[in-house]
Structures are given as structure tokens and as C-alpha cells.
């Protein structure tokens, strides 16, 4: 069953990557504001969408 060690190493390295990514994102202030990101994507209306809305 030595392959379990391979899988654990692989899984743990991915988990470690995500842990660091999480730490970075929390540190970077990615999650400080949980209100505006949800709204912001709605405001990037491009020219096309505006023309559709008018029509």
C-alpha cells in the first residue's frame, strides 16, 4: 500500500498550497469586504449589454 504515501504527499502538498493561498488571501484583505464584491460584478456592464437594455 506504499502508494498511499504518494497520494498523501500529493494531496497534502495541494492542501498546503491552498493553505498558503488562504493565508495570503486573508492577509491581503481579500475577505475584509464581503459586501461589495457581490455587487461589483453587476456594474461592469459593457457597451453591448447597454445597447441590449435600451432595445
Amino acid at each position: 500500500m506504499s502508494v498511499i504515501i504518494v497520494l498523501l504527499m500529493a494531496s497534502l502538498s495541494v492542501a498546503a498550497f491552498f493553505l498558503l493561498a488562504y493565508w495570503w488571501s486573508a492577509h491581503d484583505g481579500q475577505f475584509d469586504d464581503t459586501y461589495s464584491p457581490g455587487h461589483r460584478i453587476l456594474y461592469d456592464q459593457d457597451k453591448n449589454q447597454e445597447s441590449i437594455k435600451k432595445s
Binding site: L12, W23, T34, G38, H39
Partner: protein
């Protein structure tokens, strides 16, 4: 303010490819569905037999239909959310054409019978390398775009795409370790139970990180956009993401319950599967709650209708999955059509409808017009929903009925039903399922026509202008001081601390494996395959026998009675790749060796219905005609030796003599049974392999 242009052309290319491969992949699916009801549709030639087309269907739908859709959606969303053009037009181009090449080359090799024999990872080693390269191109393009962004905050969809990229890269590499013995064929690096574990760790996570996480990325963008209201809870979406990626990766062993995999690994898989319910349902509800107050729009808008059904199917599949991971449920459901129904709820409902909703949203915007016909899109929604129901309900029914029949005993303690009776009982349901798939396929055609007309009436905007402030000109967000902020500001401390956290988790998992010397007890009577059996095994893999036959008898009374002694881990140590299978459309074959005479196998392969009237197995007349290709046998033996299979040194030089000897003796036995054949045909090797299966422990 900086002015820049979004690249719509690459989104268009991937979008069109999605539709094209969707139609192709689903058509193959419809064909193989009807093959199970009407075996004549196998047409008696190798290239259209079920065993070869089933991998074409799964690979086309997963990697071509869903894959292209993910790339289209990700490239559309990345640019808009990050306020920048994609990192490199050249890389986008390489990514697109490279991926299409892999699909075409892959389909051709699968039809030709070049397969690794591991489900959803069937493509052979040159393609595995190509996939890795193109995946790296995708990664560079994505991370380059992220680095060039004009929006500091990474929207949750971006996180889902990052998670997808990292995990799929690792899964693909670990599962694709193999030793080539020709320019196109190889043997899996792992054997038996180890190969099975790696494969289902991959297989499960391919569902998680190729079919689920990127679609949640799409969901978190397109549901708010289509409903024109923000996601119900952004905070929830963050929890959804981190919880999902940390839990998903450990659930793989639930595909191997009651098999020769160690008990503790099976238990681990079950526990994490149950834990998955929470983030999955949190995500589904987050999407559905986004529509609160907008249900009047859902009544009319086909895009929202599809998104609602898509999310509902996600919820169904993610509660059903953990339930199927419970050992008592799995004992009943595994190897039946229940699993097939389960995955199609996900594929047709969750993935399929999300893709079509996305295309109905994207095409009018990029072509600067409105959807050609809303009525037609509504009709598409209706016909495809009926299609899903007609697909899933007969498959659930078939799964339940067949499993009940398998496990039914008479009062005197004998098995009530022959295996064949349990098959003929559900054949009508196979036919209805085919109709369901056909309806879904017709619905996809509605989409193709509707979107084509939309493109025709609009004008495509290849480079879409937008403007935003550069990141350097934006003020830094003010930091709140949390208790952990002090640690985070010192990178070395942070690194040490995170290593400690990971190491604790690692030790907890690793210690038991070190303590138990080996979880695979070797059985002294289990010996390597003879050269002829090895070639026969390669034919077994080539024809995709594993798509319908398992080689893993679970320790249940009915299975032991029907098939023989339950399978032990030590019996598979020379199996590169393992061939346990995941579905019993036909009976288990692990103890088929010695059960019938050689002549039975010969006649049965030539025409299964002659021996078993009502059987739905395709005929394999070409095995009787084709000469056995033996020239690369020494290369195969050497590859096996490299993998640790104990053939004597120099055996590759004399293996052909052994092969001839064994082949001639089988041909002689067949001749004695009034069957005209010679020892140099493929069927001889296959019979040798089948007669060897599961016999070593009886010695």
C-alpha cells in the same frame, strides 16, 4: 484611466467547440445507450463496439464538451472580473488548437483500441504528455492575467478556477505514471489495489475539480449576472470554496468500498464524503437564494430556468453522492445502473444546463444582439428536462431491480436468478433511457440552431473596449488588526507555522501506514501472467471489457455464491493496469478461469447470443480472424520487469517460444472440440487470459 480590449474571439472559439463536441459526444452516448438494448447496433466491427465507444463518449463529454465550456467561461469571466485582456493572445491560440488536437487524436486512438484501461484517464501516454503541456499553457495564461489585473480583489469565481487548475494538474500527473513499450502503448506504473486507489483518487477528484469546481466558478458569475442581482451571500461563497477544496480530495476511496482496499482507507473516504454535504448544499442554496424576489423572471427566462434546474441537480447529486458512499447503501448500489443515473443527473443536469445557460447568455452579448428565439430556448429547456427524467428514472429503476434480483435467494438457499435473467429484465429500461438521451440530444440541436441564428443576426465584436484604473493607482485597503495579523506580517514565522499545521495532518495520516508493514499480503501461489496471457489481457483492455465486467468479488453471500471466493488484494499484484471495473452490465469475471471449457469461450466470443439467448453482449468476430501480433512481446516483458514483475532475467528472449507452446495447446483443445482455428489468432490469447483469471489461489 486605462483603456483596453477584452478578447472575445477566444471565448467564441471555445464556445463553438463546446457546441460541436457536445453534439458529437452526446450522439455517441445515445448510440451506446441503444447498443445495450439492441446489441445489433454494435455492427460487428471493432470500431463501433460498446467497449471502445464508451470511453469515446465519456472522454468526449468530459474533456471536449465540458472542457471547452470551462475554458470559454473562464476566459470570459477572468477578463471582465479582473478588468484586463488575457495575458497572451498567442497562448490562448495554442491552448485552443492544442486542446482540439488532443480531442481529435484522443478519439481516433480510443476507437483504434489504444487505451490505458483506466476510466476517464483512458488516453495513452503521448496524449497524457500533451494534456500536461496544454494545461500548463492554460495555467500561464490564467495566472498571467491575474497578475496583470486592474481589480485588487479576486472574485470567488477566480478562486474556483485557481483551485481547478492546481488540483487537476496534480491529479493528472500522478495518475498518468506509466511505462511505455511502444510509441502509443504503455503499462500503468502501479499494480492492482495500488493502481485502483490511485485511479479512483483521480477519478473522484476529476469529478470534483474538472466537473464541479469550475462550474461553481461559472455559477457564481452567471447566476448573479443572469438574475441581475448580487449573490445571496458573498461570505458564504468564500466558505463554500475553501471548505470544498479542503474536503473533496480525501473522498476518493468511497469508489472502492468492500473491495480489497484496506478498511481504514475506505472509512476515511466515507467520512469525508459525508462532510461534503455541507459545503455542497451551502453553495447550491447560495445560488438558489440569489433568485429570491426574482422568481417571476425565472418563469419566463430560459437562462434562469436552466440555471435553477442546474443548481437543483447539483444539490441532488451532492446529497446522493455521500449517501452512495455509505457502506450499507454502496453494498446495494455499486456495480448497478444507479451509479449511471447519479452521474447523468450531474452531467446532463448540472453541467449540461449550466453550459447551455452560459452560451445563451454569452452569444447575444458578444454578437451585440438579443437571443434569436426565446421560445425555442424554452422549448430546449422543456425537451431536455423531459430527457433527463426519461434518462434517470429508468436507470434508478433498473439499478434497484437488478440489485434486488442479484441478492435474492430461494427458500432452499440458492440464488433465485441467473445473471442473464437480471439483464433481460432491465433491457426495456435501457431502451427508455436511450430515448431520454435522444431527447436531450435533440434539445442540444435546438441550442445550436438558436445560437447560430443569433450569431447571424448580430455583429461579432472581437475586441470589446473597457477602461479601468491601473492597480498601482488604487489606494491600498486599510488593514484591520486581527490576532493573527502579527504572524502574517512575518513571512518566516508564517511559513514555519503553516508547515507545522500541515505536518501534523500528514503524520496523523502517515503513521498507520508506516506501522502496518504492508497492507497487501502477498500470496505465494500468485504468479505473473504467461506471455500469451499477457497478450490476452492487453486484448481485454483494448476491447474495453472493463466497461461492462468487474473483476472484484465483494465479500457478500450472493457474490461468493454467484462468482466464487471473494477477491483478495494479493491476487492483483501483477495487474498493470488493474481491471476491477465499476459496472456489472455483464457478470463479474474474476473467477471465470476454469469455469467453462475453451470451446465455450470461443463460441461465446464469436456469437454470445448463440450460447446465452437474450444476452446483450456484442459479438467479437474479429478476434477469431485477426492474427495475434507478437512482435512486441519481448518489449512488453521488459516493461513488466521494470515494473517489478518477477520474470526471470533474459526471459524476453525466450518468451515467444513459451507463447507458441501455450497457444498451440489451446488450439489443439479447440480442434478436439470440433472448432477449426489455429494457435496464431487473437482469440487464443484472450481465452488463455480468461482461463487464468482468479485461478492462482485455488492451487
Amino acid at each position: 484611466m486605462e483603456k483596453f480590449y477584452y478578447d472575445n474571439k477566444i471565448v467564441k472559439q471555445f464556445g463553438v467547440a463546446t457546441l460541436f463536441w457536445g453534439i458529437v459526444g452526446m450522439l455517441v452516448g445515445v448510440l451506446i445507450a441503444f447498443q445495450l438494448a439492441f446489441p445489433a447496433l454494435n455492427f460487428g466491427i471493432p470500431y463501433t463496439s460498446f467497449g471502445r465507444l464508451r470511453p469515446v463518449h465519456t472522454n468526449a463529454v468530459i474533456f471536449a464538451f465540458v472542457g471547452n465550456a470551462v475554458f470559454a467561461g473562464a476566459y470570459f469571466i477572468l477578463q471582465r472580473v479582473l478588468k484586463t485582456r488575457l495575458f497572451s493572445d498567442l497562448l490562448s491560440k495554442i491552448h485552443f488548437w492544442g486542446w482540439q488536437f488532443i480531442i481529435v487524436f484522443g478519439a481516433i486512438t480510443l476507437v483504434m483500441g489504444y487505451t490505458s484501461g483506466k476510466e476517464y484517464a483512458e488516453l495513452e501516454w503521448p496524449l497524457d504528455i500533451l494534456i500536461t503541456l496544454i494545461w500548463v499553457v492554460f495555467g500561464i495564461n490564467m495566472f498571467g492575467t491575474i497578475l496583470r489585473r486592474r481589480e485588487r480583489h479576486l472574485y470567488v469565481s477566480i478562486w474556483f478556477f485557481i483551485g481547478t487548475w492546481v488540483t487537476v494538474a496534480m491529479l493528472h500527473i500522478v495518475n498518468s505514471f506509466q511505462i511505455p513499450f511502444s510509441w502509443i502503448k504503455s503499462y500503468s506504473f502501479y499494480a492492482g489495489v495500488q493502481d485502483a486507489l490511485v485511479q479512483w483518487w483521480y477519478g473522484h477528484n476529476a469529478v470534483a475539480f474538472f466537473l464541479t469546481t469550475p462550474f461553481l466558478g461559472l455559477m457564481y458569475y452567471f447566476v448573479p449576472k443572469a438574475a441581475d442581482r448580487p449573490i445571496y451571500s458573498y461570505r458564504w461563497s468564500i466558505i463554500h470554496f475553501w471548505a470544498l477544496i479542503f474536503i473533496y480530495i480525501w473522498a476518493g476511496p468511497h469508489h472502492l468500498l468492500y473491495t480489497a482496499l484496506p478498511e481504514w482507507a475506505q472509512a476515511l473516504g466515507t467520512v469525508f464524503s459525508i462532510m461534503l454535504i455541507l459545503p455542497s448544499w451551502g453553495g447550491m442554496l447560495n445560488g438558489l437564494f440569489t433568485l429570491r424576489g426574482a422568481w417571476d423572471k425565472v418563469r419566463e427566462d430560459p437562462i434562469l430556468k436552466m440555471l435553477v434546474v442546474s443548481l437543483t441537480c447539483y444539490g441532488m447529486a451532492t446529497i446522493e453522492g455521500p449517501m452512495l458512499s455509505l457502506k450499507n447503501v454502496n453494498a446495494f448500489s455499486h456495480y448497478t445502473d444507479w451509479t449511471v443515473a447519479h452521474v447523468h443527473i450531474g452531467a446532463l443536469g448540472f453541467n449540461g444546463f449550466m453550459i447551455f445557460a452560459m452560451l445563451y447568455y454569452l452569444v447575444p452579448r458578444m454578437w451585440n444582439t438579443t437571443l434569436y428565439s426565446r421560445k425555442l430556448a424554452n422549448a430546449h429547456f422543456l425537451i431536455s428536462t423531459v430527457g433527463i427524467l426519461l434518462y434517470a428514472i429508468p436507470m434508478y429503476w433498473a439499478g434497484f431491480a437488478q440489485s434486488l434480483m442479484w441478492k435474492k435467494f430461494t427458500e432452499s438457499g440458492q440464488l433465485q436468478y441467473q445473471f442473464l435473467e437480471t439483464v433481460t429484465h432491465i433491457v426495456p429500461m435501457y431502451a427508455v433511457r436511450g430515448v431520454g438521451g435522444l431527447l436531450y440530444w435533440i434539445g442540444a440541436f435546438y441550442a445550436v440552431y438558436n445560437l447560430y441564428k443569433t450569431m447571424k443576426q448580430g455583429r461579432f465584436l472581437a475586441n470589446e473596449p473597457d477602461e479601468a484604473m491601473p492597480l498601482s493607482a488604487q489606494p491600498l485597503p486599510t488593514q484591520k488588526m486581527h490576532w493573527h495579523t502579527a504572524i502574517e506580517r512575518k513571512p518566516v514565522q508564517l511559513l514555519v507555522l503553516s508547515l507545522v499545521v500541515v505536518a501534523i495532518g500528514g503524520l496523523v495520516e502517515l503513521v498507520p501506514t508506516f506501522l502496518i508493514e504492508s497492507n497487501v499480503p502477498t500470496i505465494s501461489s500468485v504468479k505473473p501472467y504467461t506471455p500469451l496471457e499477457l497478450l490476452g489481457r492487453d486484448i481485454y483492455v483494448r476491447e474495453g471489457c472493463y466497461t461492462c465486467h468487474s473483476q472484484m468479488i465483494r465479500p457478500f453471500r450472493d457474490e461468493e455464491m454467484r462468482y466464487g471466493e471473494y477477491s483478495k488484494a494479493g491476487e492483483f499484484i501483477y495487474d498493470h493496469p488493474f481491471q476491477w471495473g465499476s459496472k456489472r452490465t455483464g457478470p463479474d469475471l474474476h473467477r471465470i478461469g476454469g469455469k467453462y471449457p475453451d470451446s465455450w469461450h470461443f463460441t461465446h466470443m464469436r456469437d454470445p447470443q448463440e450460447i446465452s439467448p437474450g444476452s446483450i453482449m456484442p459479438a467479437y468476430p474479429w478476434l477469431i480472424k485477426n492474427d495475434l501480433y507478437t512482435a512486441n512481446t519481448p518489449a512488453k516483458i521488459r516493461a513488466m520487469q521494470k515494473l517489478g514483475v518477477p520474470y526471470p532475467e533474459g526471459y524476453d528472449q525466450i518468451c515467444i517460444q513459451d507463447l507458441r507452446l501455450q497457444a498451440d495447446s489451446i488450439a489443439l483443445a479447440l480442434n478436439a472440440a470440433q472448432i477449426k482455428t489455429s494457435g496464431d489468432k487473437e482469440i487464443i490469447a484472450l481465452i488463455a487470459y480468461l482461463q487464468r483469471l482468479g485461478t492462482d489461489v485455488k492451487k
